[in-house]
């Protein structure tokens, strides 16, 4: 689907030779921090930006040559909810329907699960909606013309946790109805809900796999450590002789040892001794399986790693 696509803006290389393929009916995630090139990639796929190198095909159509054919068949929700704030919910929806030469009624059954939730506010101006409702409206607008593929660029930014979860439930429903969905997200918990995820960083795709597999390829022994005096614990762990990286992770600290293939239990024992020596009481050290976020941290280049 995407072959070696590259894009630079002036001296900045926004996207450097990215290749991947998305299967029909798949919920495909692009995960990565801001500036990873997710938006640029989406804009190439939605024909908004020309790739400097490589090529992209969407629905078997060339993203450059078949621009107009692609445009009538994709649904696109850009980074910010681009709605007309001074138009009502219904006016927004019917406008975007007409732009694609259709009507709300014709697309209703597809958008119903989402749109029915905001339909009581059909006469309200879009500006007066909450973040979650705006998001639902924006998704309805992107879906009303029954696209063959849906592009959602960070669709949950500025939306509360409950709405985010609902939103992802709805994406799964849409996926189950056969729609191909590409979604980008900076949140790893959302990436977990995709069928496959591409980890992106600095214009490159680092890894593509199903979310649970991405962690399994973690190359080094990883430990979850809990204890009091969390901040001092973090600093002391970073000073440990074989420390590769230490990150706060929820209530825990995730410690990665730089000795690949070493017996985790031996390392855990060493760590307990070291921390005991440093004066920490009741410290729990547990060898764990890496998650997607650990992989992501690991895949980040060193300078950024130190900064965080």
């Amino acid at each position: 689907m995407v072959q070696n696509a590259g894009k630079r803006f002036g001296k900045t290389e926004a996207l450097s030779g990215v290749s991947f393929e998305v299967n029909h009916g798949e919920l495909f995630g692009l995960a990565g921090p801001d500036g990873a090139g997710k938006t640029t990639l989406f804009r190439i796929l939605t024909t908004l930006v020309l790739p400097d190198t490589g090529s992209a095909t969407v629905l078997g159509l060339d993203a450059v040559r078949d621009m107009w054919k692609i445009r009538s068949r994709v649904g696109y929700m850009p980074g910010k909810f681009s709605l007309y704030g001074d138009l009502t919910v219904k006016e927004n929806l019917s406008f975007f329907a007409s732009v694609f030469g259709t009507t709300i009624e014709k697309g209703y059954d597809l958008i119903a699960p989402i749109y029915s939730q905001i339909e009581p506010f059909a006469e309200r101006r879009a500006d007066a909606l909450s973040g979650g409702m705006k998001q639902k409206l924006a998704l309805s607008c992107a879906l009303v013309h029954r696209p063959d593929i849906l592009f959602l660029d960070e669709p949950t930014t500025g939306v509360d946790a409950v709405s985010r979860r609902e939103f992802w439930d709805q994406l799964r429903v849409l996926r189950d109805s056969g729609l191909t969905i590409l979604v980008s997200t900076p949140y790893m918990d959302e990436a977990m809900r995709c069928d496959r995820v591409a980890l992106m960083q600095a214009g490159r795709i680092l890894e593509i796999d199903i979310p649970t597999e991405i962690g399994s390829r973690y190359p080094l022994p990883l430990f979850a450590i809990t204890g009091a005096e969390r901040y001092r614990l973090l600093l002391e762990l970073r000073k440990a002789s074989h420390a590769h990286s230490v990150f706060p992770f929820g209530a825990e600290l995730h410690y990665t040892d730089d000795r690949a293939g070493f017996d985790p239990e031996v390392i855990a024992g060493e760590l307990r001794e070291y921390l005991d020596y440093k004066g920490f009481a009741n410290v729990q050290v547990k060898s764990i399986q890496a998650g997607i976020e650990d992989s992501f941290m690991e895949l980040m280049p060193p300078p950024l790693q130190k900064a965080s």
Binding site: R43, T47, L48, L50, S82, D86, E91, S98, C141
Partner: protein, 369 residues
């Protein structure tokens, strides 16, 4: 019209109607401006085109003619025996002032009566008209004094002044056409530029681009509603001018309205062009002010007569659409002339519309870069 385009226009109309404050300002603006503009600026005039009517040339009329030319303010464009040939010159704007001597001017001068002459002035621009009148009278008075002194007896020349087209020298008559141009520029260019760049800023343009909408549809959809608003503004300005200041309306209303629409098209094209070359509402607004409002008010001949501008600015004014529209509007309103006299200016506007619209559609990119 395709339903898609129609939907776009409906959406655009809603934007306009929802923003009550802006709409109120836009609708009241022509009214306020007509009321506020009660004055205009004085101006210096050179190269006044003079038509001479001299049924019986004699030494006195020839001497006076020479003096007028020697004053360097005037240049004679025609000499004829009767007033009838002067009329078309005025209508076509080929003469600014006409001086008609009575028959046997020299005889009257030295005989028993005062010698009479008629001073007719194109007063559709009252500022220049007053100035031209003052020049002509000054030349006549000085001739009178000089000849009188040489003859050792006073002679009398009685100039009878007639202001043509704008007999009461109402400057309101002059500025209403200019005002229409200004209001049309403001609504058409500025508002279109703002409204289009708002779509850019809000990110809605990004969605519109990723849709089957073609650039020309987006532009037409943007432009048409504002054309309607501009039309309403022209009507307001004309009604206000007519009801409050009794500005005469001598020509065809239909022609003036069509010419106004043509001028609005030029401005709209400029607005679209500005919006497609800028990235934010603020920049678009400032750019639109710079390229449309300023030239339209300062270089169009609305306030400062083009004739008194430096040659360089006269050249610049030729590419200001408002200049041509003001000539048209003044011609229709104050002189009552029709297309047969204004076809050149109309063609210029038409050409500008085609060229600017073409550039606007081309510069409106179907992609983000």
């Amino acid at each position: 019209m395709s339903p898609t385009l129609l939907a776009f226009i409906v959406k655009e109309l809603r934007h306009i109607l929802r923003d009550r404050q802006t709409l109120t300002i836009l609708l009241l603006m022509p009214l306020v401006q007509v009321v506020l503009f009660g004055y205009a600026l004085r101006s210096d005039v050179r190269d006044v085109r003079l038509a001479i009517v001299d049924p019986s040339p004699d030494y006195a009329t020839i001497a006076l003619r020479d003096r007028l030319v020697a004053a360097r303010r005037f240049k004679i464009v025609s000499v004829s025996p009767s007033m009838t040939s002067v009329e078309p010159l005025f209508r076509q704007g080929k003469a600014d002032v006409a001086i008609a001597f009575e028959p046997d001017f020299a005889g009257h001068l030295h005989g028993n009566g005062p010698a009479k002459l008629l001073l007719a002035i194109d007063a559709s621009d009252p500022n220049t008209a007053t100035t031209m009148q003052a020049y002509a009278r000054a030349v006549i008075t000085s001739y009178e004094a000089e000849v009188g002194a040489g003859l050792n007896q006073p002679i009398r020349i009685i100039p009878d002044t007639r202001m043509r087209f704008n007999p009461t020298l109402e400057s309101v008559n002059l500025f209403v056409p200019g005002l229409i141009a200004l209001v049309l520029t403001l609504v058409s260019a500025l508002m279109t530029a703002i409204s289009l760049s708002r779509e850019k800023e809000r990110g809605t343009l990004e969605i519109l681009l990723v849709s089957p909408l073609r650039p020309w549809q987006i532009i037409v959809g943007k432009v048409l509603p504002y054309l309607g608003l501009a039309f309403a503004n022209v009507l307001t300005a004309l009604l206000a001018a007519w009801l409050i200041f009794h500005v005469p309306f001598r020509g065809s209303v239909l022609l003036l309205l069509s010419e106004s629409l043509l001028y609005a098209m030029v401005s709209l094209a400029l607005g679209v062009l500005v919006a497609s070359l800028t990235t934010s509402q603020r920049v678009a607004m400032l750019a639109a002010l710079l390229v449309t409002m300023l030239p339209s008010s300062l270089l169009s001949g609305m306030v400062f007569p083009i004739a008194s501008m430096p040659v360089f600015l006269q050249w610049v004014s030729a590419i200001v659409p408002a200049r041509w529209f003001i000539v048209i509007a003044r011609g229709i309103m104050l002189k009552g002339v029709g297309l047969d006299y204004l076809w050149r200016e109309t063609l210029v506007l038409l050409g500008m519309t085609v060229v600017l619209m073409g550039i606007a559609v081309r510069s409106f990119k179907p992609r983000l870069e």
